[in-house]
């Protein structure tokens, strides 16, 4: 059972996969035609191994789901990754009442609090304009599933120009379009490296353009054709100045697909759960915070310690 299509939550090699309907297209692109992928609509229940299972929107990325598991022992909800902020690229988070709530805690510390999305998008627009004025290319690094599409959708507020994207992103952008998500038009960064290298005046210039690229493209020869760039990273991680500086990005935009601290607390409260287990990121402090407030809580260890992915 798959909560969403990010690499740390959906891995190749299983005999079969069950996910929410909008997630299936993304999984198919990741795992290929041969993988056995079954999907059910949000809210539709199936019985499996004596428990009743259903998927409910998590608001994280397209097709992301909380998994509700009902048995004689009660109701457990595995939230996967989720957020409460509005996002036009996926169904909004739905509060699912439960006894046990397994929450993410990627940003489970009170230093994490997100600004309004509109304000962040305005900042990105301002950065793009000032780079354009200086004849530079704006390169925004972001995750290929979710963040890139959310940016393409949100940026419709400030522009109708096409956005250039790294070739690796095209497939998932298509998958989102197939699912009916409205986004700015995109064009792949065309490979004309030879001409650029020879410095001919006819070399394609990306000055003034905004380019979206996966982090893996950073520092590769692919970047050379973009000319003089200002680079940025869109992630909740960018909330901490030291993290941004350590990575050496010119700018960090705190645009996250995860719940911030107030959203985590609010959600835990709204589920009415009497037991809460935290996983990913800052699980220990969140669990301790909840315990000290009288909630039965604990930590689920994960193989994905260290840096959060997918944000």
């Amino acid at each position: 059972m798959i909560t969403h299509a990010h690499g740390d939550h959906a891995r190749a090699g299983s005999a079969s996969y069950l996910c929410a309907t909008p997630c299936a297209g993304l999984l198919r692109r990741r795992f290929g035609a041969d993988a056995r992928i079954e999907a059910i609509d949000y809210g539709q229940a199936v019985t499996l191994g004596g428990v009743r299972l259903s998927f409910h929107p998590a608001g994280h990325v397209l097709g992301s789901a909380q998994i509700r598991i009902e048995s004689s022992l009660g109701v457990t909800v595995v939230a996967g990754d989720y957020k409460r902020a509005a996002d036009s690229t996926c169904a909004p988070f739905e509060v699912v009442p439960c006894d046990t709530f397994i929450t993410e805690s990627t940003f489970g510390l009170p230093i994490y609090r997100w600004d309004e999305t509109a304000a962040i998008i305005d900042d990105i627009g301002g950065w793009w304009r000032s780079n354009a004025d200086a004849g530079r290319t704006s390169v925004m690094f972001c995750y290929t599933i979710g963040k890139a599409q959310r940016l393409l959708a949100e940026l419709m507020r400030v522009t109708d120009r096409p956005i250039y994207v790294h070739g690796m992103m095209l497939g998932m952008i298509d998958a989102y379009r197939d699912a009916g998500v409205a986004m700015l038009p995109v064009a792949p960064v065309i490979e004309r490296a030879g001409a650029t290298r020879r410095g001919k005046s006819s070399a394609p210039s990306f000055a003034g353009e905004l380019v979206l690229a996966p982090l893996s493209a950073r520092g590769t020869p692919w970047m050379r054709r973009l000319g003089d760039v200002s680079d940025a990273f869109a992630s909740g991680l960018m909330r901490v100045r030291g993290v941004r500086r350590q990575r050496g990005f010119d700018r960090g935009f705190v645009l996250s697909d995860h719940a911030d601290w107030p959203a985590l607390l609010r959600t835990i409260d709204e589920t009415g759960a009497s037991r809460v287990l935290a996983t990913h990121g800052h699980a220990e402090p969140l669990a301790r915070y909840l315990s000290e407030r009288g909630l039965d809580s604990g930590v689920i260890r994960t193989a994905w310690e260290g840096e959060p992915t997918g944000d």
Binding site: L109, P110, I111, R113, S230, R239, V240, R241, G242, V243, R245, Q246, G248, D250, R251, P262, H282, P285, R288, Y289, E292, E305, G306, E307
Partner: protein, 530 residues
């Protein structure tokens, strides 16, 4: 303060030095002189003495947010910066931005008057400010209050920006920035003034720095084009003899005259209008003492007379920058050396750093290997025709240091770094074997690539045996070759040994933990160094 916070953000949000200089130059041209004066003060790394103890800010933050101490500590271990942690968690407090108060007014009318107030009165003054400032300004305020404001620009860049704003040569601005000044609007106006201002007579020149020699020595060309001296291990300083007075300035632009009265006394024999560049060294029986001896003199404000007897020092002259009141930095080093020999005795408290006479590069290389025996850090190579420049300009002055001491040690503890290494485990403690146990021998933070840091971070998180707050005790698996510059006996370290400037030279993936060095081996290095 909005403009200053915006300048900080602009500097902080680019890695391009040109963009940083442009942002500062624009600020200096636009800001009121009184604000700009304080901006120069902070940008050049000067600080107000801590006005509010960090513990108090911590307590006020807990009171304002209702958080627990341990949770704030967890936040700190991710952020790696106290002021930023507080600025971020205070985002929970509603902000009602008020009219902008200029930086100078903030510092002079609001912040400085906090000095000497009791904590309750301070809290009553400071707490309402949180709600009046946006996140950037709140961060600036916290940094100023805690005396920790550091901006990612070097003095050289500030000088370049000021020079751009003033349309004056950088050397003029640099000289005006040396020594003592008070950040007032009047001072800032005179800093940018095109007229020759009445410069403070105590003022030293900007130091000229050598670069590490990385290429083979033969790449420098003809041996005869170069003067070679020993690289002494002390405190680089300038001795300013003007208008009947003597001032000794450290490279950190700290006035250290009173710490070294014997140097000040010897300098009175220099003719008026002389400025020397050299090194303050602990020195006895014609030999330098280890740097740790000199440290006893630096730390001591009182009982100087007693220390003068216990640890004698000399001023080892490298260069002469001003002679008979004239700035002679542009004259070739050859000429300046001749002047040094005329003005400064070869031996005594005020002495000359002798030219090393080894005739060939091979002879020099051989001599360099004896550096430790001679009590020096290696050799300095200076082009005979070189001027005395500003800052670190490559090409004319090189330092050819000896290779560091090395040991292989095992990683035993790790904790998050601070600043730009926040949330990565980058502060490591290493141990060597002693009776089947690993005894901490050194802490090191530098020497690994970003990829290695990330790999090790992931490994540490999965192989933590125990946690003590932010410190993780890890499985003893990884061996690192550590380099260090000096070694001394220490009663403050469990190993009984303190090493100087330890850093990681190599990740010894080829070695098992059992193959790392022993404490006995390190003790032998210590004996050898004595």
């Amino acid at each position: 303060m909005r403009r200053f916070a915006a300048l900080y953000d602009a500097i902080d949000s680019t890695t391009s030095t040109n963009a940083k200089v442009a942002a500062m130059a624009a600020y200096f041209s636009e800001a009121p002189p009184a604000d700009a004066a304080w901006a120069v003060f902070f940008l050049t790394g000067r600080r107000l003495k801590r006005l509010v103890p960090y513990a108090a800010i911590n307590d006020w933050t807990l009171a304002a947010t209702g958080l627990d101490q341990w949770l704030l500590a967890e936040c700190y271990s991710v952020v790696g910066d106290g002021a930023e942690t507080v600025a971020l968690v205070l985002d929970q407090v509603v902000v009602e931005t008020r009219e902008d108060v200029p930086l100078a007014d903030w510092v002079e009318q609001r912040i400085l008057p906090l000095r000497g107030m009791d904590p309750a009165a301070q809290q009553a003054r400071v707490s309402p400010w949180w709600g009046q400032l946006d996140r950037s300004q709140r961060f600036m305020l916290l940094k100023i209050l805690t005396g920790e404001l550091r901006v990612g620009v070097s003095q050289t860049l500030v000088v370049r920006a000021l020079a751009q704003a003033a349309q004056r040569p950088p050397t003029t601005v640099a000289a005006r920035l040396m020594g003592d000044w008070a950040p007032t609007g009047e001072w800032f106006t005179s800093l940018l003034s095109p007229e020759h201002t009445d410069e403070d007579r105590s003022r030293p020149y900007p130091f000229f720095l050598a670069s590490p020699l990385e290429d083979p020595i033969e790449s420098l060309g003809a041996r005869d084009d170069w003067f070679v001296e020993f690289k002494w291990d002390g405190i680089r300083a300038q001795l300013v003899r003007r208008a009947g007075g003597v001032h000794l300035w450290s490279r950190g632009e700290e006035l250290i005259t009173h710490r070294f009265p014997e140097i000040a006394a010897a300098a009175t024999r220099l003719p008026d209008g002389t400025v020397l560049d050299g090194e303050v060294l602990a020195f006895r029986d014609d030999r330098p003492l280890p740097f740790s001896a000199l440290q006893q003199r630096i730390g001591r404000q009182k009982q100087v007379a007693q220390m003068v007897r216990a640890v004698p020092v000399v001023f080892m002259t490298y260069d002469i920058l001003e002679d008979e009141g004239h700035d002679i930095r542009q004259r070739p080093l050859e000429d300046r050396r001749r002047l040094i020999e005329a003005r400064v005795p070869a031996t005594g408290v005020l002495r000359t750093s002798q030219i090393v006479t080894a005739p060939t590069w091979e002879d020099l290389a051989a001599l360099r290997t004896q550096s430790r025996t001679l009590g020096v850090e290696g050799l300095m190579l200076k082009r005979r025709s070189s001027a005395y420049g500003v800052g670190r300009k490559r090409g004319d002055w090189w330092k050819w240091k000896i290779d560091p001491y090395t040991i292989d040690a095992v990683l035993i503890y790790a904790q998050p770094g601070s600043g730009k290494r926040a949330s990565l485990l980058t502060d490591y403690t290493f141990g060597v074997w002693d009776n089947g146990e690993l005894v901490p021998i050194a802490k090191a933070y530098s020497g690994l690539s970003n990829e290695e840091i990330a790999d090790l971070d992931r490994w540490i998180r999965r192989h933590t045996v125990e946690r003590f707050g932010p410190v993780r005790h890890v499985e003893p698996v990884h061996v690192f070759e550590l380099g260090f510059e000096g070694i001394a006996a220490s009663t403050r370290h469990r190993s009984g040994i303190a090493v100087r400037f330890p850093r990681m030279l190599r990740w010894r993936t080829d070695k098992k933990a059992e193959e790392a060095d022993t404490l006995d081996h390190v003790r032998k290095i210590l004996e050898g160094a004595r």
